[in-house]
């Protein structure tokens, strides 16, 4: 595959790995957080951790939209399907996230809820057009990457004069989450969580640009390297972070220059600003309430806002007491530190959200990396 194989070349990977090994100073450690689930997935799928020296450690961040969706919001979506009898359209991973009462969207579907798996926001709009007699709700989740398409379907629904379509908005913002992690007591005051630098988001940054990260680099003195989702992008970004840390720099560097500029995509940003506004606060699964970390639909588009239309209120629902997703999402714990990991919590029967999506830290480790926990003898 042209333009893809070039970024998965094993020989180049070996050369970068050799450079990282040569330049990483044995006397110190490098604790790097990849914020995005896309990076987590690439690291797991291509076995990148195995190419790094022991003192370069990757910490999986909270950038998996399914993982940070609070239980209460999924309960809301289930109620839309089972109580309001609306057609609820959702991305696939969301279907399996455990909600209250042993339910999930998948189980609600088996109980008669009309819940449909879609690949894009436009599919939800098409379903609304095809079912004029039914209420159709798009369960919108995701970071800055998936927000502009949601804005487009809302505008399109208005242009088409659709009265049966609305959006249950759960779009969240990356910079607010990074600030929250850096402000957490474990990182800022206690220093028990070493966090030396960040691999910055790929697709999110194509929209918001590299400029928003300059604040973290400056204020918290942590280097940020924005990287693409291909494995060589990740390797190169790790090398760039090692070099910044070795020379005491804390800058925003852009490895993903083929797609990311400093200012991002002004058209997409304008679209989002037209349809959405900041929420004062929003609950993240694992992180709790995070101020100014999410978007809601503006008053002018209220007709398409499921929260207003169905008068939705969200209850805060606690995770299973033994579930460590919160600590794992903040980088405080590893998946294997959780008592539930691989025992009662598996990808087939996820207890916590990190085990649901293949971008989640626990699912990625379970599916791709758990052999490292147990030595395997060669034949």
């Amino acid at each position: 595959m042209k333009y893809i194989d070039e970024f998965r070349d094993g020989e180049v990977a070996a050369r970068i790995a050799a450079r990282i090994r040569a330049e990483a100073q044995p006397s110190r450690s490098y604790n790097l957080m990849e914020f995005c689930g896309g990076h987590t997935h690439a690291i797991a799928r291509y076995g990148i951790a195995g190419l790094l020296p022991d003192n370069v450690r990757m910490i999986h961040g909270p950038g998996c939209p399914v993982c940070v969706l609070p239980i209460g919001r999924i309960d809301n979506a289930i109620a839309l399907a089972l109580e309001h009898r609306a057609i609820v359209c959702t991305y696939a991973d969301t279907m399996r996230v455990p909600a209250s009462g042993g339910l999930s969207l998948m189980k609600a579907k088996a109980r008669g809820g009309d819940i449909r798996m879609i690949y894009s926001a436009a599919d939800a709009l098409a379903i609304a057009q095809a079912n004029p007699g039914r209420d159709v709700v798009f369960f919108a989740i995701g970071f800055e990457t998936t927000t502009p398409p949601t804005a487009i379907v809302i505008r399109r629904a208005q242009a088409l004069g659709l009265t049966n379509f609305s959006v249950f908005c759960n779009h969240v913002l990356t910079p607010a989450a990074i600030t929250h992690i850096l402000e957490s007591p474990e990182v800022r005051d206690l220093g028990v969580v070493p966090l030396d630098g960040f691999i910055g988001p790929a697709h999110v940054s194509t929209v918001i640009g590299s400029q928003p990260y300059e604040y973290f680099a400056e204020e918290y003195q942590r280097p940020v390297v924005i990287a693409g989702f291909e494995p060589l992008d990740v390797m190169q970004a790790i090398l760039m972070l090692v070099r910044q840390l070795n020379t005491g720099r804390a800058e925003v560097e852009n490895e993903f220059t083929r797609a990311v500029t400093r200012d991002g995509n002004p058209k997409a940003k304008a679209l989002v600003a037209e349809v959405f506004e900041l929420r004062r606060s929003f609950e993240w699964r694992g992180l709790g309430e995070v101020p100014y970390s999410a978007l809601r639909i503006r008053e002018g588009w209220a007709a398409f806002d499921a929260e207003r239309r169905y008068d939705i209120t969200t209850r805060t629902v606690a995770d299973n007491k033994a579930c460590e997703c919160g600590a794992i999402l903040r980088g405080v714990k590893h998946p294997v530190d959780c008592k539930l990991f691989g025992t009662v919590c598996t990808p087939e029967n996820p207890m916590g959200s990190c085990m649901v999506s293949s971008e989640g830290a626990c699912a990625a480790h379970y599916s791709y990396g758990r052999f490292k926990d147990i030595a395997v003898r060669a034949a």
């Binding site: 998965r8 094993g10 291509y46 690949y119 990808p347 791709y368 990396g369 758990r370 052999f371 003898r377």
Partner: protein, 367 residues
Amino acid sequence: MNRMIEPLDPPTATAAGKPAKARGTYVRPVDFKHGRVDMTHGSGGRAMAQLIEELFARAFANEWLAQGNDNAAFDVPAGRLVMATDSHVVSPLEFPGGDIGCLAVHGTINDVAMAGAQPLYLSAGFILEEGYELAALKRIVESMAAAARDAGVPIVTGDTKVVEQGKGDGVFITTTGIGIVPPGVNISGDRARPGDAILVSGTLGDHGVAIMSLRENLTFETTIRSDTAALHGLVAAMVAAVPDIHCLRDPTRGGLATTLNEIARQSQVGMLLREAAIPVRSEVAAACEFLGLDPLYVANEGKLVAICAPQDAERLLAAMRAHPLGAEAAIIGSVQDDAHAFVQMDTSFGGRRVVDWLTGEQLPRIC
């Protein structure tokens, strides 16, 4: 398909004892051009008998069906019999490279063949949905008949039922097959041993991608066709070259990854694959790339995985490559001693990872 060739309208005798004229025996043929399945086609009455006679019996024509019994009676050679059954609910019913009809024949033949057996006979059960076009049903049945003929495995008995509109999805087909294992052949999923070689017969993921390209909310253009094929000829050639093949399995739903995990668990061994050695068409790799799928988990309908002792591997590979259905066969890895029964892979990128069981449902109704 009971009493398949029973006369529909037996000539009635006149008072004079002479046979009646043709008038009473004329039955208007089934309208395969514009007709649709209705509830009478499953009622056990004349309409059903007529559909069976004009469609199924005519297409599958063989001596066992011609006997017109509710069952098929036949002699079998001495030896170990193998039996397998498979239900088919694929959507859409017709897809690039095949349809539910030939798939139903190939699927069961392959399940029988994976014991190293020569498939002998098939049965077929149809569940039809009221309203389904008879023209489409005819295409599917004829494709099924052609597949059985090409494979040399007759469909000797069957059954037809009709469900109300909305209770089915056109056609569901269940086939059962029996076959016979040659003496000295003992192929089973629990026979993989550390050191054994793992082979696949060709490119992976073709069937799944061909189906996906037609799904309503996914439609994309591709030249990929389903690989649906009967593999018993390939298996016979393989068994002739290496009688002591340890394991054979066709990686259908869940793809190669799922099949290898099943065998690893049955045999209580680990496996180590080399990603670079696993054959995947570039079109399939590209489709999987933009759908966010992994070709190792995508269904195949004309491929097999074989596991044999390391010293037999090259001979088995040569036998596979000499057969048209194994031309792109490859040795993709080896069996390891591992009590945790992990399937692992050295990635082309240079790392190593687990190739785990499929979680959830990658794509429903793929076969």
